[in-house]
């Protein structure tokens, strides 16, 4: 009896929190058929928003992949003073509210802050433009690649690389040919997670982007802005498109997850 009660409560919980809202979005999106959906998704504003989203996510994921693998190697294979602090800082970035992250970035890179002012004099605007949004997105997704890669790196150890050294491989050759293929599934998993997080980021990006329509507006910002400005059709359609992308990445994650790097 208790078993069924537990199952029922889990189902009801999911129904009200997940299935119902997503279902309603689908229903609202297609309430007037497919035509308006295609029309709103192909409007210049929507296309631009998706382009900005893709751009920001691409750069952020790229940076986090390189930085993530490097940091994971550092944490797993080296001992240095401050290692525990670094370890804690990495998780901090996901624990802090994205809005706070955005504000902090403005305080450092804003036009009237020292660093931002210095960059601004050289023609680089960080805040209210793409670089700031990339920074914000990197910030909120820092740990994802590191935490996916580090345990596998720990597991495979350094002996395979050392064997490669004695066979004549330079350290970077040994890393690329022996270690990287060894962590490829974990890395792919981390990259897909980071991508999902980057595509869906709202808070930090909202603060640093300045929400300039058709300039720094991402897909998430477009949903919010359209909804406020009495254009629910575009808001629903965009939200639906993002849900489809999210489900796609989830499927990808699940395809990658069962593949064990370590046998």
């Amino acid at each position: 009896m208790a078993k069924y009660a537990l199952r029922a409560s889990a189902l009801i919980y999911l129904l009200f929190l997940l299935v119902l809202p997503v279902g309603v979005i689908c229903w609202k999106t297609f309430a007037d058929g497919v035509g308006p959906v295609v029309e709103s998704l192909s409007s210049p504003s929507a296309l631009h928003a998706f382009k900005v989203t893709a751009q920001v996510a691409l750069f952020a994921v790229l940076a986090n992949t390189l930085f993530g693998v490097g940091t994971a190697v550092l944490l797993v294979r080296h001992d240095f003073p401050g290692k525990r602090i670094l370890n804690a800082l990495i998780d901090l970035s996901i624990a802090v509210s994205p809005v706070v992250v955005g504000l902090a970035l403005i305080l450092v890179y804003g036009r009237f802050a020292p660093v931002g002012g210095w960059l601004s004099e050289r023609g680089i605007d960080v805040i209210f433009s793409i670089p700031g949004m990339v920074l914000a997105t990197i910030f909120v997704s820092i740990p994802l690649v590191i935490r996916a890669v580090a345990p596998v790196l720990q597991e495979i150890g350094i002996e395979q690389e050392q064997a490669a050294w004695t066979l004549g491989a330079r350290p970077w050759q040994a890393f690329l040919r022996v270690t990287l293929p060894g962590i490829r599934w974990a890395l792919a998993y981390g990259v897909v997670l980071a991508l999902a997080r980057s595509l869906g980021e709202y808070g930090a990006v909202a603060v640093v982007s300045g929400r300039l329509v058709d300039q720094t507006q991402t897909a998430t910002l477009l949903v919010e802005e359209r909804f406020q400005n009495f254009d629910p059709q575009t808001a629903y359609a965009t939200a639906f498109a993002m849900a489809v992308i999210a489900v796609g990445t989830l499927l990808l994650i699940n395809l990658l997850r069962p593949k064990e790097d370590v046998q």
């Binding site: 002996e159 490669a164 004695t166 066979l167 491989a169």
Partner: protein, 319 residues
Amino acid sequence: MIRVDRVCKTFGNFVALEDVSVDIPTGSLTALLGPSGGGKSTLLRIIAGLEQADSGMIEIGGEDSTRVPPQRRNVGFVFQHYAAFKHMTVFRNVAFGLQIRRTPKAQIRRRVEELLELVHLEQFAQRYPAQLSGGQRQRMALARALAVEPSVLLLDEPFGALDAQVRKELRAWLRRLHDEVHVTTVFVTHDQEEAMEVADSIVVMAEGKVRQVGSPDDLYERPASDFVMSFLGPVTRVDGELVRPHDLTVLRDPTEGAIGGTVQRVVPLGFEVRIDIVIDGVPVWAQLTRQEARRLGVRAGDTVYVRTADHAQVRSLSA
């Protein structure tokens, strides 16, 4: 020749090697033997360039290699846990060193096939390491190390992770391989039987120091210390002397030079029989053949007289 000259190495407070000097002649098959934590693996890794000595010098083939990175030492290294490249087939594992050296493809194919034949893995070329047994993986690791024609082959407890049966087979096989390939080979082991069976020459190490160097016979017959004597084979103490149990003669009647004691237990162990005796309250054990034991016909509680055989090698205990 490999020359290790006054090498020291510490890890934090732990002294792994203390002023170690040893020469390993070209073409020999040498065992580094000793209890674990005695520094033998560290010495092997320093010869390979995987660790740096704090002080001292390593010379390989007359060349000072102390600061040469492992890539350019031309050594083959075999790890205890194989260090197989898991995402590569057996063929590509063995080919790795040659590919790094940009050897032409046809030549790589020929050499790898030759080596796989040498290690009896020719039908496993397209398998992955996970599909091989431990013994097969270790043979693959050996072929991989030999592929680049190293001037020195270093093996770190190569059979340590294998079960007893496979271990015995691989020992004999390594000996035969060395007779065919003649590459200067150094292997680390803590198993004295393995060292005695396989090596031409044994370096006994303990607590970061070289205790004795010599042929297996030398070490067994003329150990330089109590430690070496007890590490290389069974020993027992009689009347303040360290003796091999098979060098003890057990008699029923009092004889000149023999000491009386009481038999505690007679333990038949196949070909040999072990007799536990107490002499003046001190336990001693003697190793007899089955026939000797039958002729003697003693049982627990009997009084016997023990003396060391004339040819026996005896060490007086200092303490």
